[in-house]
């Protein structure tokens, strides 16, 4: 793929600017879905298998995901690279906008709200935890519960009510 321009915004759009890439990343990041089948059946929007396969290849080629070595018929685990983890602010900004200007009432509302309330520090903590589970980084000491723990608690609380 040849870049249409040198603009960094265009560079990001060429990789992430379609109807599925960012949703796959959302599921990897927030749903901890790291296997083909899990991503396929767990997607709220019902992605087709060929589209998922194509997007996974592209995201790996773009250096956003890595594919754990696995032969045919074996579970291949996908992990975020640092570049992939760095897409979190984009996904957050999209979710924040969607929440306020499209009045999405669905899955991620409470988590998004939590992130908005907590500010950039919470986003940074979330990215640290992603580095631990996807890049094998050593956990940083945090006082209080983890970011994902709090996200899931907020989600469960909304479900329970």
């Amino acid at each position: 793929m040849e870049p249409r321009s040198g603009c960094p915004i265009n560079a990001a759009v060429e990789v992430l600017g379609d109807r599925w890439s960012l949703l796959v990343l959302r599921d990897v990041i927030f749903g901890d879905r790291r296997y083909f089948r899990v991503l396929l059946t767990g997607s709220m929007e019902g992605i087709a298998s060929n589209i998922l396969a194509d997007r996974l290849v592209r995201l790996v080629e773009a250096g956003i995901l890595t594919r754990g070595t696995a032969a045919r018929g074996q579970r291949a685990r996908y992990s975020l690279t640092e570049a992939g983890i760095q897409t979190l602010p984009i996904i957050y900004a999209l979710g924040d906008w969607g929440l306020h200007w499209r009045s999405g009432s669905g899955e991620l509302r409470s988590r998004q709200q939590l992130m908005r309330d907590e500010g950039p520090a919470f986003l940074a903590q979330l990215m640290d935890e992603l580095r631990v589970s996807h890049l094998g980084a050593t956990p940083k000491p945090h006082d209080g519960p983890g970011a994902f723990e709090r996200l899931n608690a907020a989600y469960a609380a909304e479900r329970g009510s």
Copy 2:
């Protein structure tokens, strides 16, 4: 268009998740391009006229832009709505990511760098200035030069060197 899910991230992707919408918004926001011809010929990536026409209609329908009332053959000016102005954090996040992970060397590099250096307060100031020029809001008093003024200065400085 029927939403594929209630997820706010998906809501944003359904409106902005294609190869052109965000680039059109970029040109409206950073290039102050508010007329069809200007957007058509000024686009770095070379958008086709039918695609531009289609995207403008969609963005108006989505409540991101408004079209100034103009009959055929008259200059129709497009303005950002508040929802449109609120896409700035998304575009900033995309540009920031593209700058660091795709090494875009083009047009917006210096502006992006400036925004990154200045932080969220600069983004807020930028959005205030957009409200003045697109929504007719009364300017807020700022000490020092305006955000766009500084962006253009940084851009000119890079060009000059």
